[in-house]
């Protein structure tokens, strides 16, 4: 196939990778772009195959696919990575299609499109999706991801766990499957709204958990947007707020409860704003007034307050609100029934945190009955007053201090003094003292007082009176006042005096006869009369004899008087009658006349005596009383309540008119019982009898029969009216109609029923029970929970839901609560409708009627399962803890303990410990101490004690116990102790103490101190020995400042360097420095510190400080010795050398001289011995040569050198040198820093010679810094591989630097050192050069100089180096000759 040029040009112009292939798959043509891409020569096209550019991993697939496309004869696509000219592979999509419409196909055309970026994007996307899923999965709360249309896309693990479903199942779920029906609508609406608006939403709803329980969740939803702001998906987070919800519910519940309580109390409550506006009222108020809160707001004008009270009430309230103070008023309020009732109204402000008034609480207490009772009492008092006033005797009322505070009319009139006048003014002065003494006694003893005295009358005269005063006691038996009654006994007194007089005169009249006396003959004729009699009647004795006919006795009374008198004369019996007797002035006064016969020894009547006592006053009083009683009856009749008067024996004497009207029974009923409802009679009767016996007021509620035959509830009260001695004279009874009140109570009971309905709507397990304990009512929630119907649960039916194991305990607890009549609680498990038992707290509260009797029990059961579980797990913890936990009673008895307690006591089980005396386990010597500790704990203090315990197996253990007082269930305080066996610890402590002591002693002996230094926190801890070394006070705080202050000034730079390195956290360092002590003496210290490996808080070093003063001093001495010795040795060795040379040379010299001497002698002898001389001269020459030989031999001896050409590791060689020079450097306080290159190539040469060079350079550097003060003497040794295969070594110092040009240094005999010979550097340079290297010096940027040399690296083959070395050595040898 020929391609024309046009075609290929066209292909070349295509902006794509294009190729043409033959039907067999072989590529025929590549366009320029493809060949450029692959970096191929265009001519390669023909014999080119795909394997050269398709990635090896993709090739098999590629070829197979290519094959199949060709086989199909249809267009096809495939993907593969194609190699670019630079070696990178990029993904391409290759489209192959047959060219033209020819069949059979002659050519295939392929186009490759770069899809690498797409691929990458795809893989990134995949990765990001994986990332997204893993992020979602890692969120610890349920998360759901949905598409914008709401389909579930992803759910994380917590979600699946919560719902107990797999992703596939959950995906098909609708909200209605998981969201609580009550929350569903709201949730969906919220979510829809959020989706529409594209904004985040937040909704609280209950979701069904895998176990079928709904929990509250706060569902947070937010849209995830792409860069364009389009919502990609929604993220929904479910935050568990169940606990919060429950708390809120509980709060609401408690608020509702308190509202219920407020509503159900029979006291009206109103809430006012700070300005006094009515804000709210409770139900009692609403019900009383029959008005709403809004209506009640206009209370001032609504006529709710009695017109007589309104002004006063408004003023009081306004005043209180203005002043911000509590107020109380009493007022009549008109109820819904249009009647007024008295209320006590108390207003109290409630204050806010800042003391401002937030609102007012106003309580309305119905005091109507109290008011009525008070009215009745006032009425009663008025009656009493009336009665008292009408008593025909002086009556006085005294307070407890004995002062008269009131008197009756009689007293006032008779004395002419006001009622509150001092009673003493009424007493005759002669009687006063006696009376006062008795009165004080009586007051003190609270006993009745009685005294006869002369009382001042209005006319200024005195009359004898008998005064009695008795204490009146109140309900509690305290004396509240005294009642005094004085009877006029003047007449009696007078009579007494008269008798005494007549006795004197007649000797017949007995002392005791008072009054007017008349004497009669046995026949009844007047025989004598006393003066009083005659004075009274104003008659002479003769006139008086005709008393029966002259009108002395009132004509009306006379017949009776004569009849009695005659009868007595006949019978001889004493007589007594009352008659009016005319006084001298013609006035008749009532007299009581008593007479008796005086008989002689034989009994014959000698004479009759008659005593006439003026009872006129008494008579009048009796009459007044009758009148008063009539008066009283009128008063009683006007009382609009039933009033009855009872005799002292309880018989109904009279009733008031109202009673007659109400009962419809005219006059005095035969029996009060007739008006009582038959059912109320028996109890009323027994109580009435009791009251009659004790004199206590009688009070009873009963149904009274009305005139129309109906019964209405009444409250009857009967109170005794007492005489002066406190004896009940009669009883006054009053009965109020309380029918309305009763009805109200019943209404209240009805309200209680509505409360139950309310309870039903409360989501709590609420119930009520009858006083006998049987269940009366269970709330619907309760019934639903236990899955029982109301009928099933009634009475004791609910107990079926109680866990069998808890039933007995619960029943017993319930009986106990019932018996106590007090609020109580118990715990038990309740079976839920689904069979699961959960722990509940049963709490019961009694409801009482006004008489205090329990009407009903109300209870609420609270789910305490979680708390119980916690308690159980807590108990499990206690059980498994290896420490003994125990409760010990005040008496020392173990009440409870855990398994560890049994182990501690050495017994097999806990039961073997409980009931034991814990004291018995305490080691005898610690027992007293333990008792004291135990008593202290039981007295309420916490405590800690270590003691020894000897257990049942007789093993002694050392224990420590922490104890706290705990109130036991019976209220006593017991010890809660946690006791730990610390025997092992104790032993450890002991050995630790011992070991520490060893260490301390060891450190002391070794003069070694140790320290820890936390660089980060700055905390430094020293061992005792270190304090001793520094001569610091042991235990005093150590700071860097303090240490620095001790350091020798010359070493300060050294220390600073160390601090710097430490701050950088170097792994370890070592320093020798000096410190100056207080006395000026110097110590040498050697510090070695390592960075603590496992320190978690910053950089921390552990170090040791050795006092090397002694060693230093010895070293100094030794060094001195050594240098001396070296000097001596040098001299010695030179001497030895010289001697040796001399010996060698002297031998031939000796021969030469001897021969020469002999020769001369031989020549000088006669005849001259020529032959001998010749022989000796010859020997002289020979010895001379021999001497020269010796010299030559010496020369060769000294010049001979064993040169070593070996492979040298320069780093190692340097390290050896440093080791040799270390002490010198230390002595010069040089800080050495090594910067050795790793993998440094070796060099070739003589190790010893090279080391001499290094020593020389180090010494020079050290010497150059000897005079440096105030900065660190730092020596930096560096090795490095050079760029051109050489190895470099340099020594950098911070010394004085170079004084002249560097090159001059290397001249022989040039020296800057006072002691120097000036040959070191020149020798060093010649050695380095002998090794084929270079040695040079440079001035530093900073202080000091750097000396370096470089050497060729070891080439791997010793021979060439050796060659080089040998040739170099020749040069070196020639140079040596030049020294």
């Amino acid at each position: 196939m020929k391609k024309n040029v046009e075609t290929s040009r066209a292909f070349d112009a295509l902006p794509a990778l294009v190729w043409i292939a033959l039907p067999d798959g072989n590529v025929d043509f590549l366009n320029r772009r493809l060949s450029d891409y692959a970096g191929l020569d265009r001519s390669d096209g023909r014999d080119w195959d795909w394997s050269s550019i398709v990635h090896v991993d993709d090739l098999p697939n590629f070829l197979a696919r290519w094959q199949s496309i060709r086989a199909s004869g249809e267009s096809g696509a495939l993907e593969a990575r194609l190699r670019r000219f630079d070696g990178d592979y990029r993904w391409h999509s290759l489209h192959c299609s047959p060219m033209g419409g020819d069949r059979p196909i002659e050519q295939w055309c392929g186009v490759a499109t770069d899809i690498d970026d797409l691929r990458r994007a795809e893989s990134k996307l995949r990765q990001s999706q994986i990332d997204f899923q893993s992020v979602v999965d890692s969120i610890p709360v349920p998360v759901a991801v949905t598409t914008p249309s709401g389909e579930v896309e992803a759910l994380n693990r917590p979600t699946l766990d919560y719902f107990g479903m797999t992703l596939d199942t959950l995906k098909d779920w609708k909200s209605s499957d998981v969201v609580h029906p009550d929350d569903l609508e709201r949730t969906i609406q919220t979510q829809l709204a959020a989706h529409r608006a594209g904004t985040s939403y937040n909704v609280e709803s209950r979701h069904l958990r895998a176990d079928g329980i709904y929990r509250w969740y706060n569902v947070l939803g937010m849209p995830l947007r792409d860069a364009n702001g389009d919502t990609l998906r929604w993220l929904h987070l479910l935050v568990d707020i169940d606990d919060r919800k429950r708390a809120e519910d509980a709060l609401r519940e408690s608020e509702r409860n308190s509202r219920l309580i407020v509503d159900s109390i029979p006291v009206g409550v109103g809430v006012l704003t700070p300005s006094g506006e009515l804000e709210a009222v409770n139900r009692t108020i609403v019900e009383y007034f029959g008005k709403s809160v809004a209506e009640l707001k206009n209370w001032k004008s609504a006529g709710l307050v009695h017109p007589d009270d309104i002004q006063r009430v408004i003023e009081a309230r306004q005043q209180a609100i203005t002043a911000g103070k509590s107020y109380a008023t009493e007022q009549r309020l008109r109820g819904a029934d249009r009647t007024y009732r008295w209320f006590r109204v108390c207003g109290n402000p409630q204050y806010g945190d800042n003391g401002e008034i937030q609102r007012w609480f106003v309580a309305y207490v119905d005091i109507d009955e109290q008011k009525r009772a008070e009215d009745a009492l006032r009425l009663n008092e008025r009656e009493s007053r009336l009665i008292i006033d009408s008593i025909p005797a002086r009556v006085g009322i005294y307070n407890t201090e004995g002062i008269r505070v009131a008197a009756n009319r009689q007293a006032i009139e008779l004395s002419g003094f006001p009622g509150d006048a001092d009673w003493r003014d009424l007493f005759h002065p002669d009687d006063l003292e006696r009376a006062e003494v008795r009165w004080r006694e009586a007051l003190a003893k609270e006993e009745a007082y009685e005294c006869e005295y002369r009382a001042l009358m209005a006319d200024g005269t005195y009359r004898w009176h008998l005064g009695r005063r008795v204490p009146m006691r109140d309900g509690e038996g305290r004396v509240s006042r005294w009642f005094g009654v004085s009877h006029d006994i003047e007449d009696r007194k007078r009579a007494e005096q008269a008798v005494r007089e007549s006795e004197r005169q007649l000797r017949l009249i007995v002392d005791t006869i008072p009054g007017l006396i008349a004497l009669f003959t046995p026949e009844g004729r007047l025989e004598g009369a006393n003066d009083q009699f005659l004075d009274y009647v104003g008659q002479t004795f003769e006139e008086a004899k005709n008393w029966a006919t002259n009108g002395t006795s009132h004509p009306d009374d006379l017949p009776n008087a004569l009849a009695v008198f005659q009868r007595s004369l006949l019978s001889g019996e004493p007589y007594e009658f009352e008659t009016r007797i005319r006084r001298f002035d013609g006035m008749y006064r009532w007299f009581q006349i008593r007479g008796s016969a005086l008989r002689d020894n034989t009994g014959r009547i000698l004479r009759w005596y008659g005593l006439l006592t003026d009872i006129d006053d008494m008579k009048r009083a009796q009459e007044a009383l009758v009148a008063s009683e009539r008066n009283l009856q009128d008063t009683l009749d006007s009382i609009p309540a039933r009033v009855g008067i009872f005799s002292a024996d309880g018989t109904l004497v009279s009733v008031n008119k109202r009673t007659v009207e109400l009962t419809g029974i005219p006059g005095v009923p035969a029996d009060w019982r007739l008006v009582f409802h038959p059912d109320d009679v028996p109890l009323a009767e027994s109580r009435w009898r009791e009251c009659l016996a004790t004199g206590d007021p009688f009070e009873y509620e009963y149904r009274a029969r009305m005139a129309d035959g109906t019964y209405r509830w009444h409250l009857g009260r009967r109170v005794a009216l007492r005489d002066a001695t406190g004896k009940p004279l009669r009883w006054y009874g009053i009965a109020h109609d309380i029918e309305d009140q009763k009805r109200a109570e019943q209404a209240l009971a009805a309200t209680g029923r509505s409360l139950q309905i309310t309870i039903d709507t409360i989501a709590a397990l609420a119930w009520s029970a009858r006083p006998d304990g049987t269940a009366e009512f269970l709330s619907q929630v309760y019934l639903d929970y236990i899955g029982l119907s109301a009928d099933e649960a009634r009475d004791w039916g609910w107990t079926a839901a109680v866990h069998p194991d808890d039933l007995n305990g619960l029943t017993a607890a319930w009986q106990a609560i019932l018996a106590s009549g007090q609020l109580g609680e118990a715990e038990a498990r309740l079976r839920r409708h689904d069979g699961e038992y959960r722990w509940f707290l049963f709490r019961a509260n009694p409801l009482r009627d006004p008489n205090g009797a329990i009407v009903k029990w109300y209870g609420i059961n609270t789910d305490i399962e979680d708390r119980k579980r916690m308690e159980e797990s807590f108990r499990a913890i206690v059980e498994t803890t290896p420490e003994c936990v125990k409760l010990v009673s005040r008496e020392g008895i173990v009440l409870r303990t855990n398994a560890a307690g049994a182990v501690m006591a050495g017994v097999p089980s806990v039961e073997d410990v409980i009931g034991q005396r814990f004291f018995d386990f305490v080691a005898p010597e610690h027992r007293a101490q333990y008792r004291e500790f135990h008593e202290k704990v039981c007295a309420g203090q916490k405590g800690f004690l270590e003691f020894d315990l000897v257990n049942a197996l007789g093993i002694r253990r050392h224990m420590e116990t922490h104890a706290a007082p705990l109130r036991d269930s019976d209220g006593s305080i017991v010890q809660l102790g946690v006791t730990r066996d610390m025997t092992a610890r104790k032993q450890m402590e002991n050995s630790l103490r011992r070991s520490e002591a060893f260490l301390a002693e060891g450190q002391h002996l070794a003069r070694l101190g140790s320290l820890s230094w936390n660089v980060t926190s700055g905390e430094i801890i020293w061992s005792e020995q270190l304090y001793r070394i520094f001569e610091f006070e042991t235990g005093s705080a150590v700071t860097l400042e303090r240490i620095t202050a001790s350091v020798h000034p010359e070493d300060a730079a050294l220390m600073n360097d160390m601090f710097e390195r430490a701050k950088q956290g170097e792994s370890d360092f070592e320093y020798q420095h000096r410190i100056v002590l207080a006395d000026g003496s110097i110590k040498h210290l050697h510090l070695i510190a390592h960075r603590a490996r496992d320190s978690t808080d910053g950089i921390e070093y552990i170090g040791a400080v050795l006092d090397i003063t002694q060693r230093r001093l010895s070293e100094a001495a030794l060094e001195k010795l050594r240098s001396e010795l070296a000097h001596v040795t040098r001299i010695m060795s030179l001497g030895a050398l010289t001697a040796s040379i001399a010996h060698e040379v002297n031998q031939p010299l000796a021969g030469i001289i001897t021969n020469a001497g002999t020769c001369l002698r031989m020549l000088a002898s006669e005849p001259p011995n020529i032959d001998g001389a010749r022989e000796t001269a010859r020997r002289t020459i020979r010895d001379g040569n021999r001497a020269a030989d010796v010299i030559a031999r010496l020369r060769s001896l000294f010049s001979r050198r064993d040169v070593a050409a070996e492979r040298v590791d320069l780093n190692e060689a340097v390290r050896e040198v440093i080791a040799l020079c270390w002490s010198d450097l230390q002595r010069n306080r040089v800080v050495l820093r090594n910067e050795f290159a790793d993998d440094l190539p070796s060099v070739t040469g003589d190790r010893v010679q090279l080391q001499q060079v290094i020593i020389n350079l180090l010494r020079n550097a050290s010497d150059a810094m000897a005079a440096v003060e105030g900065r660190t003497r730092r020596l930096t040794i560096r090795t490095a591989a050079g760029d051109t295969g050489e190895v470099r070594f340099s020594v950098r110092d911070t010394g004085v630097g170079l004084a002249s040009s560097p090159e001059k240094l290397f001249e022989t005999f040039y020296t800057t050192k006072a002691e120097g010979m000036g040959i070191g550097l020149s020798v060093s340079r010649s050695i380095v050069e002998a090794h084929g290297g270079k040695l040079w010096a440079e001035v530093n940027d900073g202080p000091g100089a750097t000396f370096s040399f470089s050497l060729p690296a070891f080439a791997g083959d010793l021979e060439p180096a050796d060659r080089q070395w040998r040739s170099a050595n020749k040069r070196s040898a020639s140079m040596q000759r030049g020294f």
């Binding site: 001697a1139 002297n1146 031939p1148 000796a1150 001897t1154 002999t1158």
Partner: protein, 124 residues
């Protein structure tokens, strides 16, 4: 008959001394015998006939002073003049103290030797 010339024996490990010194001694009017070591001398018959001994101090084997002590031990109090190539001034007094007549440091003059021998033979 004229009394025979005194016999001076030379003991030295140095050959040139053994060669040259006997000639000089003869020139000075002595009879001379030379031995390379102390052992050779002790093994010869001249131990009893030698009038004066010129003895090198340091020799391999028995040294000069040792030979001197050996001779004294044997009761042969032959006057000894030490010679040595090591010029150690401290050695001389010690040797004289131990009974040597003198100690000459090599190389020594013939007159010094003559003088020393004179002293030695005079003492005997």
């Amino acid at each position: 008959m004229k009394s025979p010339k005194p016999l001076v024996s030379v003991v030295d490990d140095d050959e040139s001394v053994r060669e040259s010194l006997p000639d000089l001694l003869i020139e000075l009017g002595f009879r001379a015998e030379a031995f390379a070591s102390a052992e050779d001398f002790l093994g010869s018959t001249h131990v009893d006939t030698t009038n004066c001994l010129i003895l090198d101090v340091s020799m391999p084997g028995m040294t000069g002073p040792e030979l001197h002590r050996e001779l004294l031990r044997r009761g042969r109090d032959i006057p000894v003049v030490f010679i040595t190539a090591l010029k150690d001034e401290k050695v001389k007094p010690r040797l004289i103290e131990q009974g040597a007549i003198n100690c000459l440091f090599k190389p020594f003059s013939d007159s010094a030797l003559q003088h020393a021998l004179g002293s030695a033979l005079q003492s005997s």
